[in-house]
């Protein structure tokens, strides 16, 4: 498995687009997640009554343990950038026909898929590590207390975050293998959420129980939006097993469909 990861990294690390896209992703992620307080200050400056109604310094955006849930939900919005990198990497193999040559040279079809999946795991783990470090630093800066009990609370959001990223990269891998063309695949990737919303809106009356099982919706249900709690609303500030299982099931299915498609195709 490690050998397969090395093979895929060998392809990517000399590819300038890879560095540009990944660089943009991780830099944007770092700055966006770390500048929440600055954003609140900007809001306060722009809207005269914002700062008067709420004292922004009392919003515990970066206080342990809130910081984990807050940052993880927000950084989930950026995962599409990483997914586009996966699409480029996989569709390139079809465009250059290097997938065919890899098989001829002695890689099995499943090994090829494993090499792509292992890169997805690596990219997901890097996102998790990144957010953990940023959360830790900002938390230590802004939190009134850095008690271990507070820091160690709510850490279950990290496995959930890993699952969220890996789920989405698996989805990107599957549609890349199915469509094989980068432009079309990226368009579908960007529209997936919209298409699903249109479908769920239409079956809302007849089959409401089905909606949590939709793939994109399952992600929203896994990690709920945390910010309404600062407007004194009830939020879901935990990970429930049911929604996690739905996401796991989709992730397994995406990768299994990729495997089936690769196995059957003439390449």
């Amino acid at each position: 498995m490690l050998q397969l990861l090395k093979i895929d990294l060998k392809k990517l690390t000399s590819y300038r687009t890879f560095w540009v896209v990944c660089g943009l992703y991780f830099i944007t992620l770092a700055f966006a997640t770390a500048s929440g307080m600055e954003f609140l200050k900007l809001l306060a400056r722009t809207f005269a009554d914002f700062g008067q109604k709420i004292n922004i310094n009392r919003i515990p955006l970066y206080h342990f343990p809130d910081v984990w849930h807050n940052l993880i939900w927000f950084s989930g919005l950026f995962k599409v950038v990483l997914a586009i990198m996966v699409v480029i990497s996989v569709t390139n193999e079809f465009a250059y026909r290097t997938l065919r040559q890899n098989i001829i040279d002695g890689l099995s079809r499943s090994q090829f898929l494993y090499s792509k999946i292992s890169t997805n795991v690596l990219l997901s783990l890097m996102s998790v590590a990144m957010i953990f470090v940023i959360g830790l630093i900002t938390g230590l800066i802004y939190s009134p207390s850095a008690a271990y009990s507070n820091i160690l609370t709510d850490l279950e959001f990290f496995p959930a975050y890993f699952l969220e990223i890996f789920f989405f990269l698996s989805y990107a891998l599957l549609i890349s293998i199915l469509i094989q063309r980068s432009g079309l695949t990226i368009i579908l990737l960007l529209l997936s959420q919209m298409i699903e919303l249109i479908i769920t809106a239409n079956i809302d009356d007849e089959l409401p129980w089905l909606i949590p099982f939709f793939p994109m919706r399952s992600i929203w249900n896994l990690i709920a939006i945390p910010y309404p709690r600062y407007a004194f609303q009830e939020i879901k500030d935990y990970i429930d097993i049911g929604s996690a299982l739905i996401v796991v099931a989709w992730t397994v299915l995406f990768n299994y469909f990729s495997y089936l498609k690769l196995k059957k195709a003439d390449i």
Binding site: Q3, K10, S14, R97, T98, I103, G106, D266
Partner: protein, 296 residues
């Protein structure tokens, strides 16, 4: 001799098109095996199936008597259709990557680069290579693992005469090392020059297989010229003449079975004619190939 490749009843249909139809073939160790056929006769599809990139509709094949797997493929060096590499990687890195896939020692990279004379350009990106260099890099990559079998599909496609000569020389060099080579081509001249055995495919069916040496056996053709005005009639009066063609100012005389060029020469001499030009022509593979295709 050890059987390297054995194909039985291999068939591939693309929809209604039968790309390969019930193919049976054996390749033995040490052969330079030419696969001939017009464009679209199923050569590349067959090779694709042998390298597991095309799934057969039915039929089986085995390499070295083993059922095909990715382990077996590592022992085979293959270039199908065009050279395929990552355009943004340089030659060296492309070979390093292929070395990782084939799980071979990267120490062999300088050796194969030297063999195909690409050492100087190894640090340039693949996309900057000329077509000939791409072909040579593909052959270098196929040789990385020191494979016992080499598959080359149209290795001289699109090359200039010098490039063709270089590749042909390279194939000879490799064949001398005792490797089994399977060469698909529609350039008959090329096959005749380097191959020991050949097979002819037409519309996905095998219509002929045999050694290249046997081509040219049978009736001889003699090219004759002499400074006589009625040479045509004199040649027609020779008992061994079956037909005469005039080509490029000389007479092409096809001889009946049992007659040799020597007999024709003697006949002319007895008539008091000294030939200024007399050449026995072996039947070319091209001629044989066209005959085989016409017969089928």
């Amino acid at each position: 001799m050890e059987t390297v490749l054995s194909i039985s009843n291999l068939t591939k249909h693309f929809g209604r098109i039968k790309a390969v139809n019930n193919l049976n073939l054996e390749v033995k160790a040490g052969q330079v095996f030419g696969m001939l056929g017009p464009n679209g006769s199923g050569k590349t599809t067959t090779l694709g199936m042998l390298m597991s990139v095309v799934n057969p509709t039915s039929g089986t094949y085995s390499w070295f008597g083993e059922t095909p797997s990715h382990h077996v493929r590592k022992k085979i060096g293959a270039v199908l259709e065009h050279p395929i590499f990552y355009p943004y990687l340089n030659g060296q890195k492309n070979l390093e990557l292929n070395c990782m896939i084939k799980q071979c020692d990267p120490a062999s990279i300088p050796r194969v680069l030297e063999l195909v004379e690409l050492t100087e350009r190894r640090n340039d990106k693949y996309r900057t290579y000329s077509l000939g260099m791409k072909q040579r890099l593909a052959i270098a990559s196929a040789l990385l693992n020191d494979p016992t079998v080499l598959i080359l599909d149209e290795p001289t496609n699109g090359l200039d005469p010098m490039g063709i000569a270089e590749i042909r020389e390279l194939i000879r060099k490799i064949a001398v090392q005792g490797k089994t080579i399977i060469l698909a081509s529609h350039l008959l001249d090329e096959v005749q020059k380097v191959c020991t055995h050949f097979a002819v495919l037409k519309k996905g069916s095998l219509i002929h297989t045999g050694p290249v040496d046997e081509v040219g056996k049978g009736t001889d053709t003699v090219e004759v010229n002499a400074d006589v005005s009625n040479l045509n009639e004199i040649l027609l009066s020779f008992a061994g003449t079956s037909s005469i063609n005039r080509e490029n100012g000389s007479f092409q005389v096809s001889l009946r079975d049992g007659f040799k060029s020597k007999d024709l020469n003697q006949f002319l001499f007895e008539k008091g004619i000294v030939a200024s030009h007399l050449v026995t022509k072996k039947k070319s593979l091209e001629k044989q190939f066209l005959e085989i295709l016409a017969e089928s």
